[in-house]
Amino acid sequence: MEAIGEVGRTRGLQGGDGPRFDAKWLVIALATGLVAWLALVPLVFLVYQSFMTPETAFEPAVFTLGNFAQAYGSAETFTLFVNSVQYGAGTALLAMAIGTSLAWLNERTNTPFKSLFFALSVIPLVIPNILFTVSWIMLASPRIGILNAVMQGVTGTNIVFFDIYSMGGMIWVDGLQDSPIAFLMMTAAFRAMDPSLEESAMMSGASVAQTIRRITLRLTLPASMALFLILFVRAVESFETPALLGLPVGIEVFTSAIYQAIHRYPSDIGLASAYAITLLLVTSLGILVQNRITKETGRFQTVTGKGFRPRQIDLGRWRYATAGLYLLYIFVLVALPFLVLLWASLQKFYSVPTWAALSNVSLDAYRRVIAYPGVDTAVRNSAMLSVTAATLIMLATSVVCWIVVKTKIRGRWLLDALASLPLVFPGIVLGLSIMICYLTIGGPIYGSIWILLIAYLTRFLPYGMRYNMTSMLQIHKELEESAAMSGASWWTTFRRILLPLLKPGLLAGWIYIVIVSVRELSSSILLYSPGNEVIAIIIWELWQNGQTVELAAFGVMLIAVLFVFVMIAQSLGRRFGVREG
């Protein structure tokens, strides 16, 4: 219907007294080109590399199936696969169990402290994965873990109560960390459900437990399945936890195996690519199925607009017990990890908290880490990269979303799909693909800081799409049409009508991308070069060097800064009425 957006077919008509050339075309071409380059090229090189022998100074690369033969021929790969699936499923189930029960308590009962709970949506943003994992090492490692020390003190034995260096430990850390996502998604699912469905079950004589089992959970089954897949994919993509907890005791998953293949000498890019492609297939399949489920059940149908709130179950005195559960959860998820980092950062040498150690409290670690070589450069690099990436992504995706939402150009769905493609790339696979791509192409990109920028642009492109898409869909097309009728050109309309209306979403998305860029480790770890470190790399190095107290000090400062940033984002979001997705 929309002719101003219609640019696909001209039906043999040429502009009358209108301009022949429109800025529109240049901008569209640039945005499309950028998206296509970022999303497609690394994938092509990854696939290419996986079928090639390594190129050396003496031998050119030749076609081979050796990489896959090596990858699939060994029993190790089978172990790798089993580990990954076990880890992914375990993490997803743990996160879902926690998230679903808390969401149910929150939505359907009169447990106190509810408002506290939505603050949880920001926690995973504020504490980077690597710091969360490190804090749990401090809490539950067999040697230095505080929890072990406490339990041993209480029981007077030498038994190791918690061993974080295990599959169980990995699942615990990652599942706990992802549980807020499960909480938010299940809350949305419970809210989208018509409460009268549950109420009529109650009226039919069903008990609370029967209603939950036979109505609530049954009706949210599609949402739960989609959630499981999302969590599963996130877990098999994650690098920090398996690398820090699994590698020391020889538990490898795909992400850590890719890292190992690159970091052995000589590095085996071919094998890493074969692993990467396998992992990519797993994540693509997961996301594909998840999309299918989501689309079929129409999760995006509007949640708002219902004028009734579900009846809340009165838990009576039990509600203090459930409130206790909340507090325990927040304590374990937030307070404990942060406090242990804070404690460590105030020590000269790391030690378990005791009254004796309390007298050693100092700020030395903060002084040392600020003076640590490379920290100032890394902070500058991270700031520059995250701001540049966020700005470019938000601007480019605003044009892409305009094309997808507002025009009738043929193949616009392809553009949408391309811009969302990086979602299936685990960070380390993306890092590997970009590494191969710019190694093969040559030129100055590889080994410079710009390769990190390219990685961030690619990795966070889908986030920009999501934020802009939400706001773009809310803009009534008549707002643009009335500008055209007022005599405004496309470019003027875009600049003066669309961008200002997109502003809340642009800002929220911008801050979100800045935050995730600062935390980014799994792509950066394969792409940084000496002198081009970023913040996450510094933390990684401090950990590898065993400088635990300096790491803790750095971590505390980083968490503080990210916290301020998230608070700004939240208040902006409230002011402009943005719903955090």
Partner: protein
């Protein structure tokens, strides 16, 4: 002033079908006139308007404004909407929420080809805001206006660039009933004062009748009848138009004979023989439908005869509904029920006999061969 000739606009429907939303639409609007496209939803009126605006690209035909061709399929001319200099008020008003009242109205002056000085811009904006009685709200956020104020703001914005043509897409449909009636007068006053050529799209026959110099009734992408408001209301040419505009009674019948008066015919119907008007030639025995407006059925308890040349009928009161200003009676004549609108002073109880008088001039015969199109 505006000439639309053989305009056709298509768009892709579901499953690759092509929907012809406007089909061979032609009309002319003289300078300063108020022209309304009226029809049920999906009849193509909005598509026609958007084609004139340039928001849709037609597949065929020609659109001229004065001596300027803005679209011609034959000559391959398509002027972009932002180069046409037409003002448009959208159904949603499309008020830009990030600008205040003044900025909204000033926008067309800032983006057009002509440049205005600050003083000139302010002068023009305030003048047009004054015309729609919003000048005291110039600095207010556009989102903090009431529905009626937003509607006037949209109108001011469309008028500020002194457009060649004013296009209105159901501008009153989002207002509540009281406000709609007031804005109807307001709109009429502004249009008549400025003398701006206006194309108006609505599905509300009351609005169309109240505002227009001329109305084109559309159905299934085509114009089915064009004429002045009275003309359309009193002399519908088809069952569709009679049915769509106002409420009416349809009575099937067959031609008996030609009367002495020109265009008058005698018709046999289930409610008895009627004298009717038809401007077309009819053959004896030809089937037709007679349309009689409820307000044209004159009810009385006194006896009636056909001596004064009017149709006289007798029936019983089947049902009645008191509506304040008038009473709707359902009168049963034979097996047929007719709707009649009477003054509240008529209090005949249900079940009692009642007599009906109808002026032959008000019995409009619609020949059967008129293709009966159903609203899409």
């Amino acid at each position: 002033m505006l000439t639309v000739r053989s305009l056709s606009t298509e768009y892709a429907g579901q499953k690759g079908t092509v929907v012809r939303a406007a089909d061979d639409v032609s009309f002319e609007v003289p300078q300063g006139k108020f022209f309304t496209l009226l029809g049920p939803s999906g009849c193509g009126k909005t598509t026609t308007l958007r084609s004139i605006a340039g928001l849709e690209k037609p597949t065929g035909g020609e659109i001229r404004v004065g001596d300027r061709t803005v679209f011609s399929a034959a000559q391959g001319i398509f002027v972009a909407p932002n180069r046409r200099n037409f003002g448009m008020v959208f159904q949603s008003y499309a008020i830009w929420p990030h600008m205040n009242v003044f900025q909204n109205v000033a926008f067309p002056l800032e983006v057009g080809r002509r440049r205005f000085s600050q003083a000139e811009k302010a002068d023009r904006v305030m003048r047009v805001l004054h015309a729609v009685a919003l000048d005291h709200l110039a600095e207010r956020d556009a989102t903090r206006l009431s529905g009626g104020q937003q509607q006037r703001l949209a109108l001011a914005r469309a008028l500020v660039m002194e457009p060649d043509l004013l296009l209105l897409d159901e501008p009153l449909s989002n207002l509540d009933l009281k406000l709609r009636e007031r804005m109807r007068f307001e709109l009429k006053r502004i249009q008549r004062e400025l003398g701006i050529t206006t194309i108006y799209v609505t599905h509300d026959q009351g609005e169309a009748l109240a505002l227009s110099h001329e109305i084109a009734v559309m159905n299934a992408g085509r114009i089915v009848q064009r004429g002045g408001p009275r003309d359309i209301y009193e002399r519908p040419k088809s069952r569709f138009v009679a049915d769509f505009i106002g409420s009416t009674n349809f009575v099937e019948g067959a031609v008996l004979a030609r009367e002495a008066d020109p265009h008058h015919w005698r018709v046999s119907t289930p409610i008895g023989e009627l004298r009717v008007v038809c401007h077309e030639d009819l053959g004896r025995g030809e089937a037709l439908t007679v349309s009689i407006r409820p307000e044209d059925l004159e009810l009385t308890e006194a006896p009636v005869d056909g001596a004064d040349g009017r149709n006289a009928l007798s029936g019983t009161v089947d049902q009645k509904v008191f509506l304040g200003e008038y009473v709707d009676f359902q009168v049963k004549i034979g097996e047929t029920i007719l709707l009649a609108r009477a003054h509240p002073s008529l209090r005949t109880p249900i079940g009692n006999p009642i007599n009906v008088r109808i002026d032959p001039e008000k019995c409009i015969a619609l020949p059967e061969d008129e293709p009966r199109r159903q609203a899409a």
